[in-house]
Amino acid sequence: MLGKTAGGLFWMSRYLERAENAARLLETGQRMALTRTNNSAEEWGSVLKTAGVLDGYLAKYDEVAKDNAIDWMLRDADNPSSIRSVIKLARDNARLVRTALTHDVWSAVNSTWMQIDEGMKRRVNERDLPGTLELIRQQAALVRGATLGTMLRNDIFDFTRIGTFVERADNTGRILDVKYYVLLPTAFSVGSSLDNIQWESILRSVGAGGGYRMTHGQKTRPSDIAQFLILDQRMPRSLHFCCRKIQENLSYLKKDYGFAGPSCEASNTLFEKYLDLRISDVFEAGLHEYIQDFLTDLGNLSRQIEIDYRFYE
């Protein structure tokens, strides 16, 4: 396979995953704003920060306001991480690697772009927002379904999956990075309604509300949430799950190619360092420092993968 193709597959998946995550963040932000129990501007600021687009937003607008924040995250062409921008990038990458994709995967990605492009020609008003976000999530599910159902389990599939899980781990990490203080056992009075809303919003933004209840019942405890998002082995958006998948797919490549670059070992190190431990260890070391170090190491791993498999010249 061409190095460029591996890179195209990796980035196609990352962008698709990013679009889906951004849709979920927007959904959560919208819901938080509707509960009116807290400062809406602050909440939207935190949503923008989590998506990593706050600086760009503030370069364009003077203050954080709901409608502008939604438009910025949804469709602003000046925002390279807006949902519309990343779906365009995903589709461009899919075109680039068209020969590596099955017809089903390609048409799923292409139809996603066609519908988003059509639906986002104008500002999306509040009433249409839920439908638009639902469309994004459905299309993401369609692409994922086509990928799992029609692609050969070969190196093409491996690079696709690695891209997905690097992006997903990064997203879960960012949510924890921005909201870590809500999860600290000491910083708040347990059980207030504000806390409940905050905790719920964290779970919602990774689509894990139901999964959490299934695992922990009705009792919401910050350390359980942290444990769930970081160390749970079954939760498909936990850092543990994502890093395990990255590790696995890199090991398939190693087997397939008969060699491995430093990234393969780095994925093992990443896992041992951050995930082969208990949640109390994490709190002891400091949740915030832990997450920031994790995100730095994840970024380095991603760059090493790009080098090892010759994505670029």
Binding site: G3, K4, T99, H103, W106, R310
Partner: protein, 478 residues
Amino acid sequence: MRKTKSMSEYFDEMFNGDGSLRGPYEEIGRWFNAEDASRLRAKQREAEEVFRLTGITFNVYGKAEAEERLIPFDIVPRVISAREWQRLERGIEQRVRAINAFLHDIYHRQEIVRAGRVPAEMIAGNEAFLPQMLGVSPPGQVYTHIVGVDLVRTGPDDFFVLEDNARTPSGVSYMLENRETMLKMFPELFSATNVRNVSDYPRNLRRSLAACAPACADGEPTVAVLTPGIYNSAYYEHAFLADQMAVELVEGHDLRVVDGRVCMRTTRGYKPIDVLYRRVDDDFLDPLNFDPDSALGVPGILDVYRAGGITIANAPGTGIADDKAIYSYMPEIVEFYTGEKPLLQNVPTWRCSDPESLSFVLDNLSDLVVKEVHGSGGYGMLIGPTASKKEISAFRAKLKLRPANYIAQPTLSLSTVPIFSRSGLAPRHVDLRPFVLVSSEGINITPGGLTRVALKKGSLVVNSSQGGGTKDTWVLED
């Protein structure tokens, strides 16, 4: 079901003058009459949806953001009888053989110039002539691995070659996708008729390319398609062909010269390519040997090629054979190399470089079609009968300034085939581009081709960049 009056002076391939069906169209005509127009319209829309979803689009140049457009597809097939096709096939094969012999000669001893059949200045002074190719012998002496011969028709037995595309002819993906679409939408039509299959093209293409691998190729030759990238107007086709042939689709920045071979950067390191089907023009192929600013090519590829380390398809420098000035010499060229009379006619052509021809052309501009020698895609040409006085006088000035840059031809009465328009069947002008594969194993012509159709009533310009559409092209079995 009647032809409009103004179009009736042209030869229609479906209907005779009295409104009866011509032989090859009998089944189609019966089918169409039995069909409900609204169902057909729904099918037409369905076809467009399939094209859009599959991404069968072309990019329009000269727009701020590269816009992707569909080439309109018309559901009424264009039908060619077995007898008609046999004649065309023989003529095309003869012509393509002559083109390859001509190219070999031009880049070696230039016998045809010595014999005085083609003037020396037509070669040496031609932009499409590549001195770097002198003395180079490509494997199997094949220069044009892929040729698209543009044919037009003016009567039941009158076919003309309008143009030989010997560089990087495009459109074959439309030939294949149009057929796929028709098979999906109207399967019943195919069970009623004996239409020859075109779907072998990608397999034949790969085999044909592999057969021309250089001597250094080890085992099954590695073939790759070179594209300028996703913003190129024919990118869809490049990806389609690479996909169908199961070979890599590469860009210039995927390639570099390593140990005397052109290699592609794979996830496992650099791997040599034996045959490169390039869809990049000569000028951009090698920044070291041609345009130094090109980012589309591979520095040093021409040196590897000259040393026999890679086969480039088509060979660099084939443009000298499809140049519009050389075109006028094709009858002599065919005769010189095959010793036979040409089976396919050329359109009579005036070379404006010749003073006598120039003065004739200047006197008759309103009746002629004048083309730029190096132009393509329907740009930069004058269609006298439909041009305004102002356009003609502007063109006259250009022509006088650089006469050698132009050729002129009579306005041909191109045949028509009906399209399914809003008001039912309506005749529109068509041309035909069959696709020819050349290898050391022989010449293979796919029974079919790309029929381009001018969708605007009365228009003679079929180019997709100028509002043309396409049709599925059927060659019938005997």
